[in-house]
Symmetry: C3
Subunit: 270 residues, 3 copies
């Protein structure tokens, strides 16, 4: 068994045993699917966005997942409160910059969250993530919105160092880096982009993997991506059409264990 | 045919014939599934939370279902307005105390609703429900968060008398009591806890059963629990994995009739 | 091949090729299903409701879809801002008057939107749509809440002229008119009324068809209705129960192409 296979199985086993509470402040579109995705892998999801309770909720959680789709100003304040609480109690914070770059509100929201909170993992697609980098990073990312070219990897690595967090870019091939180690993950299926909330669900799952990880969040994130993509690879055998694929995929998140994982992860360290 | 079989079939028949309008003020996670669950049993769901319309909506409804997951302050005010309207027009109010005990906001929200409105049925899991009882009730409920031990039944019965409402506790075995009669229901499947919104959906279904009941809301609630659990028992034969189970379950809520019900309900009066 | 078959195939082909961005401000219940429905036909959905971003979002979109289910005051302001932006950049605005006539808030919301914005297509069921007409229109619509009688068609035609928009009424048989041409569509299945969000999804799909249409929005709307209903006709062969029907339906929106469309649309021009 490879080291990444063993690590993935170990983290998944811990999630199923400990049911870590994952506190999500996420968008209206994916609340249901993110909750079901977290339940399927064995975690305990809670959605809570009201300023009056987010600190209390984050303080009893094992990870906080922030997602800015359908953001509004008061939710942004709640995200910052939850993020700061997570920082103070020492649990990971995952940030999903949905639509960053599309409107000023979203771009500014992400910047404000990253200024006020320490983020553990920033997970999005290539254009969303690189829109948040310095001019130098953005230049490297231009015209690379889907493919994992060497300049994108280099931009991600620089950004991880700049922001002091794990940068996790989803795409045909995924790239996860903490600025030092770089993982490429090629599990996953194109139909996953045709179902809303699959990307947001991966941010939530990354939260669960990081919640039970000892230390190495880049490796835990790569394990989350590999496992998630593998469940897609298995589910597409049941259906390659989006709605029935989603059903099969969530079933696979629930039922996939060490036997299916071993030898099937396509995680490579660069 | 037993009396509970006959009562369950009678109430379900009325729901399918009259399509009672069930006004839900519920959390963002389960709005879609609660609407589909209500449609499947033959009721007419409406979701409306704005203070400017909740009184009007409640006044044309046949039951009001309040659920505090993802609560925020202005929604709490709307819940109280809807509850008071329901009280004044004489329709049942179901209250689902999602996460009560987890944060002050939620515990206080439930207390405020129960102070200002007359609740017909309080439905939740054991820890949620008993967190709302007096010190004496909470003591009896300690260490009984899942199993339906005699002290839990006794605590529920006391609480029903204290609060003057039906207490309905979901668990491996369910307990429904109005302080006088006690029903135990053992239909239902463990996978139902692995799908988000199944519990909240039961609160909505309880609303529909109570909407068409003549008087005995404890019996109507037990009928709702028995029917709902039975649909789970039937659906698990199609799939025991969460996403495909949910599809099969909602299909069963739609298609299950007197033939499947007769002799299959496991409702016992203590 | 009939002209409507050809037009429907042409518009669907454009959607799948161009992936038009459809900006939805819609209700909490259907956000997930509307997003999945739009993805399935090949469009790019975005949900954004915050006043701080709706103008920017609408200005980069190819159509705006407004839906007043679960409306609240600040969302109404956002809808008007998005509608005005759409008008100024010249993209279609679809309006879905969910629950119009049920509460003053909803009836007034629709009136305000229609006063302040130019609507391209008003899509709803018969009672919702006719509740918004003049006294003369409402009288013609009385007692015709489901069936497409001649007085309803006449009322719709008058209303289209009054409001200067396409009136699209969903029912057993649908009626689409711009005041001049009248289309009747009889694809579709009764089970579609037993799944929440199917009607709202049709408004979103109408947005996508209008986004890629050259000019004739009544025809584009009829094409959207025909295609959508046909996917229902095909899906019901897989299942006539609501939850599994919904899965099959969304799969069909994704997979149905010119071969299935040709000769199967039941769109007639009166």
């Amino acid at each position: 068994m490879t080291a990444t296979d063993a690590e993935t199985i170990e983290l998944l086993t811990r999630i199923r045993k400990d049911s870590p509470l994952i506190h999500n402040i996420t968008n209206f579109v994916v609340m249901n699917s993110s909750a079901n995705i977290l339940l399927a892998i064995g975690a305990s999801p809670v959605m809570a966005h009201c300023q009056a309770e987010v600190e209390e909720m984050a303080s009893i959680a094992s990870a906080v997942v922030l997602n800015i789709g359908t953001i509004q100003e008061d939710w942004l304040e709640s995200m910052i409160l939850a993020g700061k609480t997570a920082n103070s109690v020492g649990i990971p914070v995952i940030l999903d910059p949905v639509g960053s770059g599309a409107t000023r509100l979203r771009t500014e929201a992400i910047k404000k969250i990253m200024e006020e909170c320490s983020i553990s993992v920033l997970r999005g697609n290539c254009s969303e993530v690189l829109s948040l980098g310095s001019a130098d990073v953005r230049t490297k990312g231009v015209d690379s919105s889907m493919s994992l070219s060497d300049p994108v990897v280099e931009a991600a690595r620089e950004m991880a160092n700049e922001k002091n967090c794990v940068i996790a870019i989803s795409g045909e091939e995924d790239c996860i880096t903490d600025g030092d180690r770089v993982f490429r993950v090629s599990n996953g299926q194109p139909v996953m982009t045709q179902v809303t909330g699959i990307g947001c669900g991966l941010s939530a799952v990354t939260g669960a993997f990081c919640a039970v990880a000892d230390d190495n969040l880049a490796l835990a994130t790569a394990a989350a991506f590999g496992f998630y993509g593998l469940c897609g690879d298995l589910a597409v055998k049941t259906s390659d059409k989006p709605a029935s694929f989603e059903v099969a995929f969530i079933d696979r998140l629930y039922s996939t264990g060490s036997e299916e994982i071993e030898g099937q992860l396509r995680i490579e360290e660069a």
